[in-house]
């Protein structure tokens, strides 16, 4: 059934595949930019990925204004302020984000400060607050999970007030996303598994939450198919370039889907687990996904059933009776988790991921105040969240 109304936007140019990095100088030139800042983190530098990116600038007319690789694991207000100051001082004219969620969110925060010509990003917290033309912005993801390269959201941590500040605006979308298989080839199996399950969760929640629409459905289902076909392969053999590239595509497509459809209760509870117990986001998604789906089953069973076709194959789908497909879909995800646990020790219970029982109350309260609760079609009370945590523990 089509929604009565929906909005869909994805203006990000996607340059994907072999030598995609080498297109960056041309893209910057097209945007009249010649002095970019590269925002990344130490892990990326140590893994040699920064060097690969810098090599792509050889024989171009550009100068890299600054290379900043001190982004912390959670993008923070002080880092964003510091980078913006460096950006201004060094007369940069464009932004390149290289990494996972943190460098991406940090870069989006810097873009707000520079483009809105402000020193206080907090004024722009919330939805649709940005009015100015943004700086040219290129995103290079190095994990296949967050989808940040195509999402309109940034979350920046305000250390002084101890709050996570969300910013939502189509103006935060990068101009270009670069999917280069070289960027994810060295990702350790456990992170590959967790980020892959994050991408799967994005796609499933995009397909089933209140804001779903035919455009986001197309991206979500294609993403689920690619995850189903490639995640286990790539965890078993990280050097499989084709599977790596497929996962990068899956992550970006799931990102486009959820940037337009939003995510639901899996993310709301997962964000809370991250905030309270510092559980890795991808791990939280993998663990919580089947249990939240079981909770939503009476309302979303038909949609879960439809997704079985994409996660498995036509033969499996047709041999299972229509009313059993949703159950099989959840079972398939649990099996995937189990296999990932066997392959790389990805935790499949909250206890193993580091959550303590005494943190349940705080997680439940935090989850109910998360914006992702709203698009979940089924209402969750605190008691419901506590029950889900208990089952996933």
């Amino acid at each position: 059934m089509l929604p009565k109304y929906y909005e869909f936007q994805n203006p990000v140019k996607i340059n994907a595949g072999q030598d995609a990095l080498e297109t960056i100088p041309y893209e910057l030139k097209q945007m009249n930019a010649s002095r970019p800042i590269i925002i990344t983190d130490k892990g990326i530098t140590n893994a040699g990925l920064l060097k690969t990116v810098l090599n792509a600038f050889d024989d171009s007319e550009l100068t890299i204004g600054i290379i900043f690789d001190e982004t912390p694991p959670d993008s923070s207000l002080s880092t964003v302020n510091r980078i913006a100051e460096l950006y201004r001082k060094n007369k940069c004219d464009s932004i390149i984000a290289l990494g996972g969620g943190s460098p991406m969110d940090t870069a989006k925060g810097v873009n707000i400060l520079i483009s809105e010509n402000t020193d206080d990003i907090r004024k722009f917290m919330g939805a649709d607050r940005l009015k100015s033309k943004m700086q040219p912005f290129i995103a290079i993801p190095t994990t296949s999970g967050t989808g940040s390269e195509v999402t309109l959201v940034a979350v920046i941590y305000d250390e002084a007030n101890q709050v996570k500040m969300p910013f939502t605006s189509a103006r935060l979308l990068p101009d270009v996303a670069i999917l280069d298989p070289r960027m994810t080839i060295g990702l350790p199996p456990r992170i590959t598994a967790a980020t892959g399950m994050d991408a799967l969760t994005h796609a499933i929640e995009a397909y089933t939450c209140l804001q779903k629409n035919p455009m986001s459905d197309a991206y979500a289902t294609a993403a689920i198919k690619l995850v189903g076909e490639n995640l286990l392969k790539v965890v078993k053999d990280g050097s499989n370039k084709e599977a790596r590239f497929a996962m990068a595509n899956a992550s970006t497509m799931a990102g486009i889907a959820f940037s337009n459809s939003m995510v639901g209760a899996v993310h709301a509870i997962g964000h809370a687990c991250g905030a309270v117990a510092h559980i890795h986001h991808g791990n939280a998604m993998a663990i919580l996904l089947p249990y939240v789906m079981e909770f939503n089953m009476d309302m979303l069973g038909n949609l879960y059933g439809e997704l079985l076709l994409f996660l498995t194959d036509a033969d499996t789908y047709t041999t299972i009776e229509a009313d059993k497909r949703a159950g099989k879909f959840i079972e398939t995800i649990k099996e995937m988790n189990k296999k990932l646990n066997e392959l790389c020790k990805m935790p499949i219970k909250l206890y193993d991921a580091g959550l303590k029982k005494e943190q349940f109350e705080q997680v439940a309260t935090t989850a109910l105040n998360d914006g992702a609760m709203l698009p979940n079609p089924k209402e969750l009370s605190k008691k419901d969240v506590l029950e889900i945590l208990e089952r996933a523990f």
Binding site: M125, G126, A127, L210, D370, G371, L374, P375, P377, E379
Partner: protein
Amino acid sequence: MIQTNYRPGHKLIQRSVVKAGFLALGRGIESASHFEKSVQEEIKNWQEGFSFTMNVLPFGPKLAMRKKNGVLKMISLKKGETADLTVEIKNLTTAFRMITTQMGAHHVFAQNKIGVSGNIADSMRFIRIVYTVEAYLFPKILNKNILKKSPKMDIKKRFNRWHIYTRGMLFGN
């Protein structure tokens, strides 16, 4: 036909209905903040003096409220004054559909017809307060359209509903 400087008309009926609806919602919130535990629980998280406003773009109607002495009071914001939480409904027709129970707050958010300035946790609290009061203001048959889950109306809640409809609407307590 070639026409220049076309000036759009006015949706007077929609505007009047939304204005009346905001007034009823505001009175309902004021009243519920005096006795409804779930609303009081939400307000507890806000500091004294915390304010929020729900505006229809581009020029109203508006509903503004502030926490005063532990309860919520309808206020008028001074020119240039901003609230701690601002919820902006992008057009009058959407506000009309909300107020006439054709759309729930979650649908309006899902359709991206609302902009929020402020803390997301505060906006979630605000929405839960609106849900609670709407459950009192409207009968179950209409609540089905606007709430994900209609609460059970036991005798106490029925009395509360009667209270909001009488004393609450007149005096806001």
